[in-house]
């Protein structure tokens, strides 16, 4: 059983390829079913977003698995030939595949590091796969782990905290001036794309009132409807400025629309309540001299960009921390995956029962010193045969299930039944031994009287 990933992302493929490869949600189920119908493909998840298309799969053989998934990708998208696709694909297996999934989930591989959408998309992909029963023990565990790693990264690093878009940087700055954006009013002067986006973010963050003015009155009315705000006539907006806590200017005007004197008056009219002015226009529409007006805070596009750059750098720094977390988590899950291999499990099981048997036999023989060498051999043989018979079915089942899809589940079950993963097991054993020796001591007189046969006592002790 091997975990592999085959896919492409914004790092390896241009948008022309990605958009053709994307699988619409309605077809995900069908695609997953087809994926798992390939021989040798045991489990599968299909992650399809605008920035990446990836197939995570558990396969019997790595190389055939790679081939099958490539085949699957080309089949799903008849418009793309294998030759067109291959140069953009990446393949990972084992720890690298897991690390890749963890990095993707934690948004370390995203176009904008720290964005939060990808985690939701991964959860959705996982749910679809669960609904179509195309995941098994390994995939379930690994994907769930990926989700928890992503959450850990988000809570323990500041990777997602800081604004990395100009429009969002405006919101971040607004929050340093106004602790609560509710009941605040934003005045939108002109309607550049970035200003609209910033206004949208501000509204999403609680800004209560929106006032809009544009040179074309109808445009303002349309926008006002869209944002649930009020339109203000363009020639009156300066008088309206005092009612705005946040002024967002982005017009195509080639000169300053708002002068320091206008802002000064507005601030006075506001009884010195602070005002936050954002000028996203180039050339600038607000006179930079506004900087010298008390209680007015002016930021132009360069200031916002500068803030974004700083935040990007900060996110990169946090990403390093996140990468270390991913490495840590990968090591942990690899240990678990190793434990799912059949052979080591069989060996561990054999050693475990062998230890128990030897210890028990030694104790009994220690007390039965009068036995002849032949009798001693008999006792040992008896113990061995009981132990072997008891674990025989387990061994056979494990061996038979090596290649079946439920193999890992059996291995996991066996490991739990026999507590093969518990290092503390040795102390537990000692307890069992001492208990059984007490039992032996107690039952001794009785055994002597009853002409004991070892059969009943041995299974009891083995308990």
């Amino acid at each position: 059983m091997h975990l592999i990933v085959v896919g492409l992302s914004h790092k390896t493929a241009p948008v022309e390829i990605r958009e053709r490869l994307a699988v619409p949600e309605s077809r995900l189920g069908e695609a997953l079913a087809r994926l798992c119908s390939y021989p040798g493909v045991k489990e599968g998840i299909l992650l399809s977003t605008c920035n990446r298309v990836e197939v995570y799969s558990v396969v019997e053989d790595v190389d055939t698995g790679y081939g099958r998934i490539q085949e699957f990708l080309a089949d799903t998208h008849l418009s793309l030939s294998s030759e067109q696709l291959t140069p953009h694909l990446y393949w990972h297996t084992g720890d690298r595949a897991i690390a890749h999934l963890f990095r993707v989930a934690s948004s370390l591989d995203s176009m904008i590091i720290g964005e939060s959408q990808i985690l939701g998309q991964l959860k959705d992909a996982f749910e679809v796969a669960l609904a179509h029963k195309t995941t098994g023990v390994i995939m379930n565990k690994v994907v769930k782990k990926a989700i928890s790693v992503a959450k850990r990264v988000r809570t323990e690093t500041k990777i997602a905290e800081m604004a990395v878009s100009v429009s969002y940087a405006a919101v971040e700055l607004a929050k340093k001036i106004f602790s609560n954006l509710h009941e605040k009013t934003v005045l939108l002067v002109g309607a550049g794309e970035m200003a609209k986006l910033a206004a949208k973010h501000l509204i999403a963050n609680g800004v209560g009132h929106v006032r809009i003015t544009t040179r074309t009155p109808q445009h303002a009315v349309d926008l006002a409807e869209k944002f649930g705000g009020t339109a203000v006539p363009f020639d009156q907006f300066k008088d309206d400025m005092a009612s705005a806590d946040i002024v967002l200017v982005s017009t195509g005007a080639a000169h300053y629309l708002v002068g320091a004197e206008d802002v000064h008056r507005a601030v006075q009219e506001r009884m010195n309540r602070p005002m936050f002015l954002i000028d996203i226009s180039v050339p600038r529409n607000i006179d930079p001299a506004v900087r010298h007006v008390d209680n007015a805070f002016l930021f132009d596009i360069d200031d916002l960009k500068h803030r974004v750059e700083q935040n990007r750098a900060e996110r990169m720094h946090e990403a390093e921390k996140a990468e270390r977390m991913v490495i840590e988590e990968v090591t942990m899950i690899l240990d678990w995956m190793k434990s799912l291999e059949v052979t080591p499990t069989i060996v561990a099981l054999r050693n475990r029962v062998e230890d128990i048997k030897r210890a028990e036999v030694e104790k009994v023989l220690g007390r039965l010193g009068h036995l002849s060498a032949q009798d001693r051999e008999l006792v040992e043989g008896l113990a061995s045969s009981i132990v072997n018979k008891l674990i025989h079915r387990t061994m056979v089942t494990l061996k038979n299930e090596i290649n079946s899809s439920s193999g890992p589940a059996f291995v996991e079950a066996a490991r739990q039944f026999y507590a093969l993963d518990r290092p503390a097991a040795s102390t537990q054993q000692t307890e069992t031994y001492s208990e059984s020796s007490r039992y032996l001591a107690d039952s001794r007189p009785q055994s002597e009287a009853d002409e004991p046969t070892p059969e009943p006592s041995v299974p009891k002790r083995a308990r």
Binding site: I177, M271, R273, D294, D303, R307, E314
Partner: protein
């Protein structure tokens, strides 16, 4: 015993200050809870000290100036803990705890048993307590003002550094400033009135215009104007921040006046 608790509280506050400062100047959030816990433990010891002083042998004696200062810093820490608990603004500790320390050290530096006050009347207790509570309000307003001016400067000069990210929003600081004065001013007013009554009872005249009393009246007038200006003609934000910093200087001068004159007018 009280002295030991006092020393422990002082040392814990100093440790907390170092911790708060390094929290405020580093990106990591790690130290916030540590600093807060150290402060809280220090506060517990400080409380014990105050209770011991109050119930101790000298309980019948009037409050000494050093007790008043100790009470002042205890209140400062109490306010810090309350604001922290409600708003989680850890950076506040970097400003308030040092203030408490300065006052505690002054309290310790004063001679232990200077009988500055005659055991006159109960009104003296009210005078000291109310004046100190009013002072606490102005001290918090001062801290909020300083933080406001720093954040204002950082925003104006577009220095988005660590301190910028840890300081709260401007309007929060302005609101804290206003609330503190609104609470502090009536308390100081009552403090001055009870002081005058004590003086009358002890000496037969309400006011004697010694430096301490003069400064108290100047301080009172100053804050009266500040409060009036804020409520009527919009003296808020940066101006209010500046004014409260200046006002607190008046408060300090009054306290120094008290110290130098040893409350002589009353004795």
């Amino acid at each position: 015993m009280a002295a030991v608790c006092f020393m422990i509280a002082l040392i814990l506050y100093i440790v907390a200050t170092v911790s708060f400062l390094s929290y405020s100047l580093r990106r990591s959030e790690a130290l916030s809870n540590v600093s807060l816990s150290i402060t809280a433990v220090g506060f517990a010891f400080h409380t014990i000290t105050l209770i011991m002083r109050m119930t101790g042998a000298s309980s019948s004696a009037p409050p000494s100036f050093s007790d008043a200062l100790s009470f002042f810093s205890w209140m400062i820490i109490l306010v810090l803990l309350i604001v922290e608990f409600r708003h989680r603004i850890h950076v506040l500790g970097s400003f308030m705890v040092p203030l408490a320390i300065v006052s505690l050290i002054s309290a310790a530096a004063l001679p232990e048993s200077e009988p500055t006050l005659q055991p006159v009347f109960k009104t003296l207790w009210f005078h000291v307590t109310l004046s100190m509570l009013g002072t606490v309000g102005f001290a918090v307003a001062f801290v909020a003002g300083v933080m406001y001016l720093i954040q204002d400067r950082l925003l104006k000069s577009k220095q988005f550094n660590v301190l910028y990210s840890k300081l709260p929003a401007l309007d929060f600081l302005d609101h804290l400033n206003q609330q503190s004065i609104v609470l502090g001013f009536p308390l100081l007013t009552l403090g001055i009135v009870t002081g005058a009554i004590s003086a009358e009872l002890a000496r037969g005249s309400y006011v004697s215009w010694n430096p301490e009393q003069t400064w108290a009246v100047v301080t009172w007038l100053f804050y009266f104007v500040v409060l009036l200006g804020r409520l009527t003609i919009g003296w808020r934000a940066k101006r209010a921040a500046y004014l409260t910093v200046v006002g607190f200087a008046c408060v300090i001068l009054t306290l120094v006046g008290v110290l130098l004159k040893g409350h002589s007018a009353l004795s």
